[in-house]
Subunit: 158 residues, 2 copies
């Protein structure tokens, strides 16, 4: 088996891994009191509601672009209340499940330019979106601790 | 090509991705003033020096276990000063490069029990170590902001 065709992880398993992270991020989002989501922050960083909106505007638009080369999705990052963020989150979860299997497998090793400006191998572009979610979710953990709220367990992806 | 053999990402590319994250984490470690590394924290969480020590005791021991089934590595998490953490970090970087290609490729899809207690497919066990690094590094970003220090750019993995 050549190195090129040997998987570290397959597309199906990577989607399952990502959706596990997304379930955890949803719990972090849901753990914030509604009024703190767009107001509380530490160290001059953005409130968690803005970070969640950033995640929403990266996830499905990246995968839709990978499927169809359509990088012009409307991606308003206008602040939203918690119930609306949770609704958009769940909508993205469903869309991700529908779109992901439409990415032709060889494309994950191809170099693309996402959103007209980020040029990299598709697997790196997708890992960037996931890593950005983990990174900003961890900010959310510190914010929750700062609010005296116990965050959900990092290892639980159920 | 069957789903099983189609890569999202190959082992070589995953190592490159991981080492990119490790370069960024090293810069975060290096950005802390020596005396804050083991003393400063927010929300009652562990100081960044302890988190870095956790990363060091997970990375090479996980990969060594994956290579040889040896899960009994001495993993002291005793606090260390910054110059010592940076030395251990660089040592781990070299060891990771040596050990990684010794993992037989099919093993990434096999289920193992790491450290006598964590049972999962190897790719998930390894992603857990990387995700844990991203998660705790992000805590470090908030700590640095809390200290009035601009953290290194998240997107720069050079």
């Amino acid at each position: 088996m050549s190195t090129h065709s040997t998987p570290f992880i397959t597309p199906d398993a990577l989607l399952a891994h990502w959706q596990g992270h997304r379930r955890l991020t949803r719990r972090v989002l849901d753990a914030f009191p509604d009024d703190k989501l767009l107001s509380f922050s530490l160290g001059g960083m953005r409130p968690f509601g803005e970070l969640a909106m950033e995640m929403i505007t990266m996830t499905v638009p990246m995968v839709r672009g990978a499927v169809a080369g359509d990088w012009n999705a409307a991606t308003s990052r206008e602040p939203r209340p918690k119930h609306e963020l949770l609704r958009l989150w769940d909508e993205s979860t469903e869309q991700l499940n529908v779109l992901w299997p439409q990415i032709p497998a060889p494309r994950f090793q191809e170099t693309l330019t996402a959103f007209g400006q980020y040029t990299d191998v598709l697997h790196n572009l997708i890992l960037y979106v996931i890593d950005n979610e983990i990174h900003h979710r961890a900010q959310g953990y510190v914010y929750l601790r700062g609010l005296g709220i116990e965050p959900p367990a990092f290892y639980d992806r159920s």
